[in-house]
């Protein structure tokens, strides 16, 4: 049986557009609002990434750090990510939701218990920032057994040989990091160059759905629309931060932004 993630990419391809993926942090600014945020985003986004915030996110830049700290300060607990995902899936039965975060949180929760709760709450995939290949092999196998996508990352520094090995062990989706940067950095590589690297990876296995993330904003998204999917995260976290500062409702602001992002890649 095809996964929800696979079906979503096939659907986007039929419509001749990239899948739009969004990243926001669970319980940012609080549990209720973060659910409202993904509910409103889902009208325009194809795949929802929900971050489980960590106190020490070494791969993330300022925007996601701020969101993570806010969520933890507001009492985030690991079980909240499952409760948010579960409620989301009641509204959007076929829309994939992916949990994303750092390994220590999964490790402390217990890998098996984590996967069981993912399954129960309708989570389709997992991205673990600091569990690279081959460290991820055992956990990725466990995910596969539960029919949950373990989504691996590729970076500009990943060697060709390594790309092959990672893709061979990958499930339906692979995530290409556009440039050498933490999340939310300014796009310092031209979209043309990014797409060149993207195509090289695609050639290894054209069937794998390859999404591009890091540095993607409303300004850069259009130039990368030939990819299978595009991820926007820091821009949304920044929007929440700014809305709170201006005492605006972040839910409405984010909905507007994601609506515009979708229009740019249609």
């Amino acid at each position: 049986m095809k996964s929800e993630i696979q079906l979503t990419f096939e659907n986007c391809k039929r419509e001749n557009r990239p899948a739009l993926l969004t990243y926001t942090v669970a319980s940012d600014p609080n549990k209720k609002k973060s659910l409202q945020i993904i509910n409103s985003i889902a009208k325009y986004a194809d795949i929802i990434e929900l971050g489980f915030p960590h106190s020490t996110p070494v791969g993330d830049g300022g925007q996601i750090q701020t969101s993570s700290n806010r969520a933890i300060k507001n009492g985030f607990k690991m079980r909240d990510s499952f409760q948010i995902a579960n409620k989301f899936k009641k509204n959007y039965k076929n829309k994939p939701i992916i949990l994303m975060g750092y390994y220590n949180m999964i490790y402390q929760y217990g890998e098996n218990r984590f996967l069981k709760d993912c399954k129960k709450s309708g989570v389709s995939g997992i991205i673990c920032v600091d569990l690279p290949w081959p460290e991820n092999k055992d956990f990725a196998k466990k995910c596969k057994k539960k029919s949950i996508n373990f989504i691996q990352l590729l970076a500009p520094t990943t060697t060709k040989d390594r790309v092959k090995k990672i893709i061979k062990d990958s499930h339906d989706m692979v995530y290409y990091i556009s440039m050498l940067s933490t999340t939310g950095g300014k796009l310092k590589v031209s979209p043309k160059k990014i797409l060149e690297s993207y195509k090289k990876i695609k050639r290894v296995n054209p069937k794998k759905n390859l999404v591009i993330g890091f540095g993607i904003t409303d300004k850069t998204i259009k130039s990368l629309k030939s990819a299978d999917g595009l991820v926007v995260g820091s821009l949304l976290c920044k929007t929440i931060t700014n809305s709170l500062r201006m005492r605006h409702n972040p839910v409405k602001k984010i909905e507007q932004i994601v609506y515009n992002l979708q229009k740019k890649v249609l």
């Binding site: 220590n104 402390q108 690279p132 520094t157 990943t158 060697t159």
Partner: protein, 413 residues
């Protein structure tokens, strides 16, 4: 599974193919972007370790720049005062960098040169790592960027001034608790974004396994010297020797012990002293002696102060250099195998130890080794004079003069 230390092989090399000690500690839990730079560094380091010209250069700088060996002295007055075991100190702080950090900074800069990198970056807590890297980088013509938590920038200002004097860029870190843990995170983030031009240095035996190895490889110089000095002094390794060292990340302790790990623990016992924090507070920076759970921080699996969810816990210590929630995988391994024992000393005990040692002896340990002195002072009266307690005085107190003045009302250099 019972863990075992192999004899005749340096502990830094007793890891498996995944960079894990005992299959349980260490590893490389890093973002994908860093896999290649880490692999490159692993290859280069393993090549350089066999390269005679590299070793010759390393030894040249250890000898002529650090000045080897650093003195081993008997603390006669302290011994008489306590009336028990003999107390000795290896005054590692007697080098131009006033701390053991100088060894790894030299080795890292030599590696950076050979890797063709012009920039180095590092984390610092007490500022000793930052000061030493700034100093050595300047000597080798490299540009240094030092990440330091804002809280530490204030309490260790003296070292910050020195870093700037050597031309390093000091980057204040405002995230999280604004201490060492955040400085390490920020330095790693900087490396993620600039790994093609920058060589990252981690200030202790923590982080991805290659950094544990390079740091331990460098500080091992301390115990190589100590072994020779002890034999010169006693004609052999004393029958009852206890090597006492403070443990934050654990690079000075590993360096102080590495040559002695193969000895029976009844012959040479290894005692690590972590930062117990203030007597009045529940917070501490002592994951080993408080039986913290295994966790993943900064790329390595090790015992780590954290909550049930895996959020890294807050720490507290008067000594910035020990103020880290996790600890080296090497020390986790030494603890689980029973080869070393770990205890902690409070802020107050460390201050009292500083007071006594600096009053009676002509040395002035910083707050970090003062933790080790505190444990030695409490042990000595219970032991007889056949026992030799040797303390690694790995840092000089000058950086702490403001804190010491505030807490004790005086400061003697």
């Amino acid at each position: 599974m019972s863990l075992k230390i192999k004899k005749g092989i340096p502990l830094i090399d007793q890891h498996d193919k995944n960079g894990m000690w005992g299959g349980k500690f260490g590893g490389n839990f890093v973002p994908e972007t860093l896999k290649k730079p880490i692999e490159d560094l692993e290859k280069l380091f393993s090549k350089l370790r066999k390269d005679k010209s590299f070793i010759k250069e390393r030894d040249y700088y250890f000898e002529n720049y650090v000045g080897t060996p650093t003195p081993l002295i008997k603390l006669d007055n302290l011994t008489d005062h306590l009336g028990g075991a003999q107390l000795w100190a290896k005054v590692v702080s007697e080098n131009p960098g006033t701390a053991h950090k100088v060894y790894a900074c030299i080795v890292h800069c030599l590696i950076a040169k050979r890797a063709g990198k012009r920039y180095v970056c590092t984390d610092t807590g007490a500022g000793m790592q930052g000061k030493n890297l700034a100093m050595v980088a300047k000597k080798f013509g490299l540009r240094a960027k030092i990440f330091m938590g804002v809280r530490d920038l204030v309490r260790q200002k003296k070292n910050v001034d020195v870093m700037k004097k050597y031309g390093a860029e000091v980057v204040p870190v405002t995230s999280g608790s604004q201490t060492l843990v955040d400085a390490v995170s920020e330095s790693m983030r900087y490396w993620v974004a600039n790994c093609q031009d920058v060589h990252m240095v981690i200030g202790s035996t923590v982080g991805p396994s290659i950094f544990v190895k390079i740091s331990g490889y460098s500080t091992s110089q301390i115990s190589r010297e100590l072994k020779v000095q002890l034999i010169e002094e006693f004609g052999k390794i004393p029958n009852k020797l206890k090597l006492i060292n403070c443990v934050g990340g654990g690079s000075s302790a590993y360096g102080f012990w590495s040559e002695f790990i193969d000895y029976d623990k009844k012959h040479v016992s290894l005692i690590g002293v972590e930062a117990g924090g203030s007597k009045k507070s529940k917070l501490h920076a002592a994951p080993l002696s408080n039986n913290s759970k295994l966790g993943v921080l900064h790329g390595a699996k090790a015992y780590c102060i954290q909550d049930n969810d895996g959020q890294i816990g807050e720490t507290e210590s008067l000594s910035s250099g020990l103020d880290y929630p996790s600890v080296s995988p090497l020390h986790c391994f030494l603890k689980d195998t029973g080869r070393a024992e770990y205890t902690s000393a409070t802020d107050e005990e460390a201050l009292n130890a500083y007071r006594l040692v600096s009053k009676l002896e002509n040395i002035s340990p910083s707050l970090e080794p003062s933790h080790a002195f505190a444990t030695a002072i409490s042990l000595a009266p219970k032991l007889n004079k056949d026992t030799v307690l040797c303390i690694d005085s790995c840092g000089h107190s000058l950086k702490d003069s403001d804190i010491i003045k505030e807490k004790l009302g005086f400061y003697t250099e």
